[in-house]
Symmetry: C3
């Protein structure tokens, strides 16, 4: 098993731990937190220190995974990604055994595919993405870097998404739609038209 | 295998039978129905009698499961739950092999986790709940007793739900939302704000 | 393993190939395309010719599967179905190993059950249907012939759907609802009332 260190200790990190424990590929060595003073353990794993401890915590063979959540903005995840890169730390590509990834799909480094996610034929996913629980990425979908495809999202065939975008929980995106960079779509939207970069799509139904 | 007796013989009971047959934990001994005169078998299992036959039908080692559905009100399921308790009958906690329950999640007695449901890290679910097919209960969610989380519902991280509430099919609940007791949310709602106890949330989109 | 020939070479066909490769039941012999001139291979399988080559491509033991998608109309799929029938070609009933079909459910010939689809107790599905990825067909649902139940659709208990209807991605249909023939429901609709035959239901939320 490969050794992995997680960056982050919030709720998303808990889910990441569940996914990693469920796979047979990585063993968790410990957690990096942004807090200065934190209890010694998180979900039973050792706290190795805060961001300042990154360079000293990673051995040559350790993989890193950014386990910080992403809703309003990808900035934290991008900064941590750059920090790991600067320190020449390899990023893990993590996949739940309870997910399904087509043999013809491609997943970038640092991307996590969570429980019951399906990544279908010829899908191409960038780096440092969250493909969250129960999401469905259909055939021929392309997704850039640092995106969060949230819980239960359905991206139908041929959808294209840029970098650093967030598709909220339960959204359905029509086949062939193009979504730009830095787009935020809030939960439960039915996306039937293209969405330009740097736009916010929010419609509260209740 | 443990022996189980089901209370109810409607559509939800059919789904419960499918889940129990799919697991290796329980063997169905028979069905209790509210009808006085019912055909001898249901889905190939013996009808043991109606509610009046509860005390005589259960042996010491038999588990009970309330297999009556719940949409508009939890009352029937609560009454049967109290009846089983009064008769000192153990309630089964049933789980489809095709569901996924985190090692850190807790499920109360009498609760059924149906096919493809996911119960994530540190979720805490009460007694006598239905976690219906394809529902997603994310990390740190808490749910009280006698709730029905319907088919395909998404409860995001940290959502809290009281007792005897119903979340309709395909609903998406935003992370951190609090929903009270006796709340009824009809199908397909996107819940973005807290919902007070004893309220009805219905919006027909079509 | 049985031998199968696919009709169609679009995006839906890619997903069908992924499902068939994932099962252990069929081996793909080749693809029939409507194009006259097409590259020699599709997803690494041989192109056998266009529709005119149907009768010459199938050996006695080969099964056929219509792998053309269906959104606005079922016509193409119906015509190909009739063409196969006329040529006395057997239609394959295909099922992803990652789907779940109740022992009491019935699936007609030519119907494909894709990844993570769930077909529950006593459901009855006709011929030449697409039960697309992540769809949920609950107990006692009946579906006619040539229907497409799209990605992530939830059909609750006892729903009834006629022939040649399309239920769009992410739709939720309330329990007991009746939907007629040739009905088109666009993505993300919450169907709370019966829908008459030959009607279109579209409501763009964004």
């Amino acid at each position: 098993m490969k050794s992995i260190i997680l960056l982050g200790n919030g709720g998303h990190c808990k889910s990441c731990i569940d996914v990693i424990e469920n796979s047979d590929e990585f063993q968790i060595k410990g957690i990096i937190t942004k807090d200065k003073n934190f209890s010694e353990r998180f979900m039973n794993y050792k706290i190795l220190g805060n961001d300042a401890a990154i360079s000293s915590s990673f051995d040559k063979d350790d993989f890193g995974l950014i386990a910080v959540g992403q809703i309003k903005s990808a900035i934290k995840r991008v900064l941590l990604f750059d920090l790991l890169r600067k320190n020449k730390i390899k990023l893990a590509t993590v996949r739940s055994k309870n997910s399904l990834v087509s043999r013809t799909a491609l997943l970038g480094e640092g991307t996590i595919t969570m429980h019951n996610a399906i990544i279908n034929s010829d899908a191409k996913i960038g780096m440092n993405c969250i493909l969250n629980t129960n999401c469905l990425v259909e055939h021929d979908v392309t997704i850039g870097n640092h995106c969060h495809i949230s819980t239960g999202v359905i991206l139908n065939g041929g959808v294209s998404i840029g970098n650093q975008s967030f598709i909220g929980s339960g959204c359905v995106v029509k086949e062939g739609i193009t979504i730009g960079d830095n787009v935020l779509v809030s939960a439960g939207q039915i996306v039937m038209k293209d969405l330009a970069s740097n736009t916010l799509h929010k419609k509260i139904l209740d």
